[in-house]
Symmetry: C2
Subunit: 146 residues, 2 copies
């Protein structure tokens, strides 16, 4: 069971920006530090900007920064934003399930409860929880380390 | 975020056998009722038999039945059996992650906690919980419905 790679990279990017606390960080730097595809990050940054998580400034002195305080960014909301769906099994795909036992299936309720428990944990944590009091993280993602 | 299709089909197959309570059910019947691939089910049944969830009797009067009481089959254990892994993001893949911030990443712990919460819900329920006091399920999967 996996989150998609967009969720993974979005969270890394947001942690990077949170550590840099308002300073503009280029996608090129995030791509370089994490050794991930710049094109991939551009699409993720585009969605995060559209959803109000980050601000993107274009141009030669451009870059990304958080659009709201790290304390206001819940990990659960980022994951909901980046995941295509939480259609944990087929019958959760709206209008796309033929499963015979849907009308009376208790498993569907159990799996729904499990997904809610998963997200409830992620909702307890903010981006600030991931980066504060984490000096090693600041060493790895800070400007000085470039 | 999804479970793989093997987990989905394995749980359907086990519910089918649980409803039939010791009577041999053929893969062909499960495939027919759920409109899923017989070959796919055969591989799933093979793994479930290997892991001690079902007994498979070969031959003309053959078929499948539960190898242990439905009350002793936890949904969580079936999912653990059928999922390739719970490598929710890259750094959970043993020996296969290059993520720069692994040594000091708090997100890894948060995601691990979320996965444990997911499985803890599934561990609360047995196969028996899914099928008992469910007359509609018995109508849909019972022998008479064939």
């Amino acid at each position: 069971m996996r989150l998609n790679v967009q969720s993974d990279y979005a969270l890394r990017l947001l942690m990077h920006l949170a550590v840099r606390d308002g300073e503009l960080v280029t996608i090129a730097e995030v791509a370089e530090r994490f050794q991930v595809s710049k094109n991939h990050l551009m699409k993720i940054a585009s969605l995060l900007a559209r959803e109000g998580y980050i601000d993107a400034a274009r141009g030669r002195s451009g870059g990304l920064k958080l659009a709201k305080p790290a304390k206001q960014v819940r990990v659960g909301d980022v994951v909901r934003c980046m995941e295509a769906d939480f259609a944990i099994v087929e019958c959760f795909q709206e209008g796309n399930s033929q499963c015979l036992i849907m009308p009376c299936c208790k498993l569907q309720r159990v799996l729904g409860e499990a997904v809610e428990a998963f997200l409830a944990i992620l909702d307890r944590y903010s981006l600030d929880d991931l980066v504060r009091r984490n000096p090693d993280l600041r060493l790895l993602l800070g400007k000085e380390a470039a």
